[in-house]
Symmetry: C2
Subunit: 142 residues, 2 copies
Amino acid sequence: MMRDPDELKNAGLKATLPRLKVLSLFENSKDRHLSAEDVYKILLTTGEDVGLATVYRVLTQFEQAGLLVRHHFESGKAVFELNQGGHHDHIVCIKCGRVEEFCDEEIEKRQKLAASERGFTIQEHSLYIYGICTKQPCPHKA
Amino acid sequence: MMRDPDELKNAGLKATLPRLKVLSLFENSKDRHLSAEDVYKILLTTGEDVGLATVYRVLTQFEQAGLLVRHHFESGKAVFELNQGGHHDHIVCIKCGRVEEFCDEEIEKRQKLAASERGFTIQEHSLYIYGICTKQPCPHKA
DNA sequence: TTCACTGCAAACGATTTGCAGGTCC
DNA sequence: GGACCTGCAAATCGTTTGCAGTGAA
């Protein structure tokens, strides 16, 4: 289930093994949001031989190439997700780590308004909601 | 311009010198948003003798006591501001570091709706807008 | 061949922690 | 007096970087 090398070539990156592995990991993992540590550990258990430093480098390159988006949830560690176009916001369960995405056009609109009213040109924006998912036992890890 | 010790006592904290200094700093500084490093440096230049570790400890205690609110902007370092009740969102200039606050009831309302629709009990939420302030020369530092 | 890429280990910046001594009530 | 605080230095955590070897085109 390895990724098409062209996708990397188009981004100006050589299609090396570590890159293909990381990219396919994001495309096939059921968790959309992964930290560098997550990626590293998954690759380890898969028997892949990739250094943690390389994971960090590749993730940053992918972010710059627009393939991934980096987020800073409260955890202190950065998490990445596939960039599939449209902007969206996040609801993070502080108990189980589950992340749900949503997008509200009205919120988007009012953010832009708030910024322009104050003379700001928006570069990016992020809305994080931290809470507890009340759906019986938390569906994810502890 | 030292703070009323009762405010600390009420929070269950002994009214020690470092705590009073830090608290009064937040109340008298013209910058509402300060990092631990900021606080430490200001205290140094004021001739105060407070350790960086103590600053970190005090800031965390104040946050737990509800006196301060901690934010994680993109910078990588945490910033704190006085907790004056009402929730509000932030617009951060990525060039000069200026922080403006705003609050939009409609956005608040729709956040709550989005969370409850997905079975989440909101614990906290933060909306950060990163941009560039177009008001001629950036009013703050470089 | 050649230059980009990699792994490893050391370096880093922000924050935390262990500990011996000092302080508030 | 005793529990709580403090400063200092060492430890931790996430992340970055220097360097010598490896691999894609």
